[in-house]
């Protein structure tokens, strides 16, 4: 059971890391889970997966970009809606619904564009890291 969980946690690592080290790490788990404790090894691997994705893969940069973009889009949407409500209070006879729905559509489209942008940049960062992590020859 713990071996299956360990293998599952290994699958959660970035593909490059997994291809390079997973078989070896599973072999070590087989050798060491009795002496070191299976739970200790599982916790260590869980932390390793987090560290790999957040610190080594560059995904954190994409996540940060996504969060920043989302905050901007939401702030823009909320600001727009607030100004429309304010205008509606001042001019109760005005037709507001189509404009509001346009604004919501614009917000959704913005989200979509930001998401696609982040996905493309995350793929680029991942490919860049793959090249960067190949061992360098030193004199």
């Amino acid at each position: 059971m713990t071996r299956a969980i360990y293998a599952f946690l290994l699958r959660l690592h970035p593909p490059d890391f997994r291809r390079r080290f997973a078989a070896e790490m599973l072999w070590i788990f087989d050798q060491a889970h009795v002496s070191e404790g299976a739970l200790v090894l599982l916790f260590d691997l869980f932390i390793s997966a987090l560290r790999q994705w957040l610190m080594r893969s560059g995904v954190w940069k994409a996540m940060l970009a996504l969060a920043g973009a989302a905050i901007q889009v939401i702030a823009f949407g909320v600001g727009g809606i607030a100004s429309l409500r304010h205008a509606a209070l001042r001019h109760p006879d005005a037709e507001m619904t189509p404009l509001l729905s346009d604004l919501m559509l614009l917000t959704l489209w913005s989200f979509g564009i930001v998401f696609v942008g982040v996905f493309v940049s995350a793929s680029w960062v991942t490919r860049f890291n793959r090249r960067r992590l190949t061992p360098r020859k030193r004199p």
Binding site: M25, D44, S48, R136
Partner: protein
């Protein structure tokens, strides 16, 4: 030409222990874990996740590289690692740095009556 090693220093505890474990001979991952525990008398233990995360980083920095297996009929899942010349230089630089820290700590931890006079005057 002398390379500036300061960007690599100070080494983290895990990196220092892994480099130390590889300083004597080439080892596979589990061998490194066991050697780290032996050298630290069981006070510092590396899990495989921490070990391979550090190995990956050290290999990308050129401190460690894969080595051929010393035995022909070895388990193919066991891969061996060795220190590069650059890794050995970084390790030596950090050991020198640590010697300075220990020297300073010994001075400061002595009873006040045994410290040099100029230090007491401050």
């Amino acid at each position: 030409m002398v390379e500036d090693l300061s960007p690599y220093l100070p080494l983290s505890a895990a990196t220092l222990h892994v480099l130390l474990a590889l300083a004597g001979e080439d080892r596979h991952g589990y061998g490194i874990m066991q050697e780290v525990a032996r050298q630290s008398e069981g006070q510092y233990k590396l899990g495989p996740g921490t070990l391979y995360d550090n190995l990956q980083k050290m290999m990308s920095q050129g401190m460690v590289e894969e080595a051929p297996s010393p035995r022909d009929n070895d388990d193919p899942r066991r891969r061996y690692y060795r220190l590069t010349r650059f890794g050995r230089a970084v390790l030596a630089a950090d050991v020198t740095r640590l010697e300075g820290v220990v020297r300073r700590a010994r001075l400061d931890l002595r009873p006040a009556s045994l410290r040099p006079a100029e230090r007491r005057a401050k």
